[in-house]
Symmetry: C2
Subunit: 207 residues, 2 copies
Amino acid sequence: MGITARKAKEKEALTRAILDAARELFLEQGYDRTSMRMIAQRIAYSPTTIYIYFKDKDAIFHALHTEAFQLLGGRMAPLAHVADPMERLTAMGRVYLEFAEQNPGLYDLMFIMKAPVQSLEEKHHLWEEGDRVFQVLKATVEEAMKKKLLRKSDVEITSFLVWSTVHGRAALLVRDRCFKVIDEAKHDTLVADSLAIFTNWLKCLRP
Amino acid sequence: MGITARKAKEKEALTRAILDAARELFLEQGYDRTSMRMIAQRIAYSPTTIYIYFKDKDAIFHALHTEAFQLLGGRMAPLAHVADPMERLTAMGRVYLEFAEQNPGLYDLMFIMKAPVQSLEEKHHLWEEGDRVFQVLKATVEEAMKKKLLRKSDVEITSFLVWSTVHGRAALLVRDRCFKVIDEAKHDTLVADSLAIFTNWLKCLRP
DNA sequence: CTTGACACATTAACACCGTTAACTACATTT
DNA sequence: AAATGTAGTTAACGGTGTTAATGTGTCAAG
């Protein structure tokens, strides 16, 4: 048993090493500009070895995608204890924006990066993870509406608009492309104001 | 003179053909998944011919990028005649969201797609185009603040937040990745509500 | 009219990419 | 000891962006 256990551990370790190397490269260079050979070189294995552990490059992407969503989910979980749904919404916005700021590469990978998704099952699976987070948001919005803390409206659409508001901030901050538009020194102010305006906006949606 | 003129015309025509073919392919398949050989095949020329007209694949991307910004700029221009700055802001939001909805591929190319930008000059030039649109937004916000129609605050940051709000909607709508989260039938409602909530949000920013 | 120069387009090639097939070494089981 | 299975390798295929070398035809000068 000891030997097979050790082997299993080694296998798992290599899987981890591949994922870590791939994540670093994806976040540095982007999905398309990282090659399997680069990943292989970083872990000092032959490129084809990776195919023993992952079906293809896409499978690596999806594994990282899943891990990233679990990380975000973990940050969101404690907020379930916040009793007031409006406070909870605010807190979710804060956690979301903080996550994007602290993990810009991961945020990019989760919500912006385009990876080729061929099979419909994979596609469905990809939504599932984001969907779980979205369900929590929807539930909170619904609760707030029921308690008359939020103007009554279509729950799904309202939730989507809440999400899109924070996503707008996050997406522009995460990509350099758009950051040169404002002074770099204002970065901290911007992040703070972002959240302040978000919470203020939520208040505007009250009945 | 007539001959050289004809030649110049032919040269320009081929440049156009390359750009058109490239745009179609970029929007269909994305930047990385379109090859120079594909573009060449579509215009029935040898792949290397393209290099006579454009330095490399990146140069094509930037040319399209510029054209797209000119298109958006053209849609924005008429709004200069709207006297009330708040009304103008609302109109700009509407035009922006409409542009994104009508030209999702172009929007992607302009604000989301990641193309490798190596030289710093190219990078700077890339900002410049977006910057020009952003300057107009900033001027409008500033005017609104001066006329006490908008709460006094940092102009740049406020402008950025206005932009990020509409970008959030646009970015999520443009990419399928996030659209499965709400019912497809609600699409039209969503677009309408998007704009409504945006204008409503602007009102919240009044003094 | 011929010759040289020039512009445009092409073919051939290089180094890289994702991925597969075939193969080697080694451990385990029979 | 032979057979089976596992983990990793090398070699190869068809594709990529890009460059160098090579036509090919059109013009100006001798």
